[in-house]
Symmetry: C2
Subunit: 355 residues, 2 copies
C-alpha cells in the first residue's frame, strides 16, 4: 500500500530522496536566478516547474500562491517559506497569500476571534521579511471573493468520497471542507477576476502534497469549465529544531520565534544540540559533524557567507561548539531584532496588501 | 434499522401518519389564523411550531426560510409552498427565499449558466403568486453574504462523518457541501447581520427532513458561539400528479406548469386519472371516490369554495368526471393565465426582493 501523508498531522521526513521517489516529486532543476534555498538543496523537489520557468523566460504572467496557518507564533522555519516567496516575486510572480483561517478553525481547535489576531502577526512578519506590496495580495479564507467562495464549493462536484479518502486517509466533513477550500486557494489566481489561466507555483512542505495532488486532479477536471492550466509546486524541507527533531511551536526550546527577545534567542541557541564531539579534546582531534548539526544548518541558511569557513573549521577541529553557537546567536539576535523593528513599521503598510 | 430519507432522491410517501411516527414529526396544532393548507391537512405535521406560535402571539420577531431548487420548470405543487410562505408572511414573518443554485449545480447536473435563468423564473412566479416585498429577501446560495458563506463552512467543525451518514445514508463530497450549505441557509436568518437569534419556521416536504434534523443538531452545537435558538418546521404533503402518482417535472402529463398555455392545461386536466367509476351508469349508481381522486384534490386546494358541493355531488353520483374536470380546467386555466400575466409585471418588482 502506498504511504499516505496527513496534512493535518505532523510530517517528519528523514529521507527526502526516498520520499521523492515514493510520492512522484521530481528533482529541482536550475533556476535562471541563484538562491540560497535552491543552492543548498533546502528546496529539494518540484512538480511541473517547467511551466513556471517558461513563463519567466518568456516574460509571461505567472503567479505564486501560498498560505499561512494561523496557529501558534511564527518561527524561523516559516521565514524560509517567505524567502521562497520573495524569490518568485523577484522573478515577476503575482503573489497571493492566504490566511488559512477557515482551515485553522475547522482542524486546529482555534476560536474564531483568535484567528485574525494571529494571522495579522504573520502578515506583518511577512512584510518585515521583505515581501513587497507590488502585485501582492494578502487575504483571509473567510473574506475571499464570491467567485472564490463558490469555487471552493463547486469543486466538490468532480471528486468522489473514495478518491479523497485515497489521497487523505480518514476523512471528516471538516477535512473535506478544508481540503476543498485549499484547492480553491491554489486555483483562484486563475479565475477570470484575477486575470485568468496562468502557471501558478505553490511552495509547500511535503505535508501539503495531498492538497497539491487533489488540486492537480481538480484543475484538470475543471479545465473546460474554468479554463485552468496545470499547477506547479516546489517542495521545501523542514528547518531542523534546535533540539534535533522538528522545529515546533509546541516545543518552545526547539524553535526561535519572532516574538522572542534577544536574550531568549541567545539562550535557546546556546542550549542547542550540535554535531560536536563529547569533549573539547575529542572535537579538536576528530573534528565535528556539521552535516547533522542544527546549528550548522542555521549558519548555512541564515549566515551563508560565513558557512563555508565554519564548515571547514568545524571539520578540522578548529572551531568549538560554544564559539560557533555564539556567532550564530549574534547573527540571529540581530536578525530577529531587525524583524521586530520592521514589524512595527509594517503596520502602516498592511493596507496596501489587502486590495 | 430506522428508515432513511434521501433529500437528493425522490420521496413518495403513501402513509403520512406512519411516516410521522417513524420520523418524530408532531401533529399540527391550530393556528391563530385559518388557512386552507392547514384546514385540509395538506400541511400535516411540524417540529417545534410552538416557538413560532408564541412569537406570533407576543408579536415578537420571527422568520420564515425556504428554498427553491432551480431544476425543471415550476409547477402547481411548488405554488402550495408559496401559499404557506404567504401565510407566514401575513402572520408577520421576515421571509428569506434561497435559490439552491449551489446544491443544484452539485447534485442535479445543471450547468452554472442555466441556474440563474431557471431561478429567476421561480422568483418571478413567487411574486406573481403574491409574496410581498416587505420584509422579504430573495438570494442565491452563490451570492449570499460573507458571514453566511463562512457559516456554511464553519458548521463542518461540529458534525462527524458518521453522524452525517446516519442522517443521509451514502455520502459524497458534493452531498456534504450541499447539506452544510442548506443548514447555513436555514440558520442564517439568526445571524447578527440579519437581526440575531429568533424562531425560524421552515416549510418543507418530508424529503427535506434530513436537512431539518441536521440543522437541529448543529443549531444546538453552535448555540453558544452563534446564539442560535431551536428551529421550527412544518411538513407539507406532495400535490398528487394528474396521472395518480407524484407530480414530477420529468413526466409532463403529471404536472401543470406555470409555463403551460391554457389549451395545454385544459388537455392535461381532461386526461387526468380520477376516482370515478368504470362507467357513467356505475358512477350514477354508486358515486365516485373523491378521497383518492387527484382532480378532487385540486378542487380542494385551488377551488376550495366549491369543493364541498363537488364532494357531495360526486359521492351521490350526481357529478360525472368530465363535468368535474371541466370546472377544474376553467379554474386552473384562469389561475395559470393570471400568474403568467402577473409574472410580466413582476419583472419590474424583482429588484425590491434582492436587497
Amino acid at each position: 500500500m502506498q504511504k499516505k501523508i496527513d496534512p493535518w498531522g505532523s510530517c517528519d521526513v528523514k529521507d527526502y530522496d526516498k520520499a521523492m521517489k515514493e510520492f512522484g516529486i521530481e528533482k529541482l532543476e536550475r533556476f535562471p536566478k541563484r538562491n540560497i534555498l535552491f543552492d543548498t538543496g533546502f528546496v529539494f523537489g518540484h512538480k511541473n516547474i517547467r511551466a513556471v520557468l517558461k513563463a519567466v523566460q518568456e516574460k509571461k504572467r505567472f503567479a505564486m500562491m501560498t498560505g499561512l496557518m494561523p496557529s501558534g507564533p511564527m518561527h524561523l522555519g516559516h521565514a524560509l517559506v517567505v524567502e521562497q516567496m520573495k524569490f518568485f516575486q523577484e522573478l515577476g510572480a503575482e503573489c497571493y497569500v492566504a490566511s488559512a483561517d477557515i482551515e485553522a478553525y475547522l482542524t486546529r481547535g482555534l476560536k474564531r476571534d483568535e484567528l485574525a489576531k494571529i494571522s495579522e502577526d504573520y502578515f506583518l512578519t511577512y512584510i518585515a521579511l521583505g515581501l513587497k506590496a507590488d502585485k501582492c495580495r494578502f487575504y483571509y479564507q473567510s473574506s475571499g471573493s464570491q467567485e472564490y467562495m463558490n469555487l471552493s464549493k463547486f469543486l466538490a462536484k468532480k471528486i468522489t468520497f473514495n478518491e479523497m479518502k485515497a489521497i487523505y486517509g480518514e476523512l471528516s466533513p471538516a477535512k473535506i471542507v478544508s481540503a476543498l477550500t485549499q484547492v480553491a486557494d491554489i486555483l483562484h489566481p486563475q479565475l477570470k477576476e484575477n486575470g485568468g489561466a496562468c502557471p501558478v507555483i505553490v511552495p509547500v512542505g511535503l505535508d501539503q502534497l495531498p492538497h497539491i495532488n487533489l488540486t492537480g486532479d481538480l484543475a484538470y477536471r475543471f479545465r473546460e469549465e474554468y479554463g485552468f492550466v496545470k499547477i506547479s509546486a516546489t517542495f521545501q524541507k523542514l528547518l531542523p529544531g534546535l533540539q534535533g527533531g522538528k522545529m515546533s511551536s509546541s516545543q518552545p526550546n526547539s524553535a526561535i520565534f519572532f516574538s522572542d527577545g534577544g536574550d531568549v534567542v541567545r539562550k535557546k541557541i546556546m542550549g542547542a544540540m550540535t554535531g560536536g564531539r563529547k569533549s573539547v579534546e575529542e572535537q579538536k582531534k576528530k573534528g565535528g559533524s556539521p552535516e547533522i548539526c542544527p546549528v550548522y544548518a542555521y549558519h548555512l541558511l541564515f549566515n551563508n557567507s560565513s558557512s563555508g569557513k565554519i564548515y571547514e573549521k568545524c571539520k578540522k577541529g578548529e572551531l568549538m561548539c560554544g564559539e560557533c553557537k555564539k556567532e550564530l546567536a549574534n547573527v540571529l539576535v540581530k536578525f530577529v531584532g531587525d524583524i521586530q523593528d520592521r514589524k512595527k513599521k509594517a503596520k502602516n503598510e498592511l493596507g496596501k496588501y489587502f486590495r
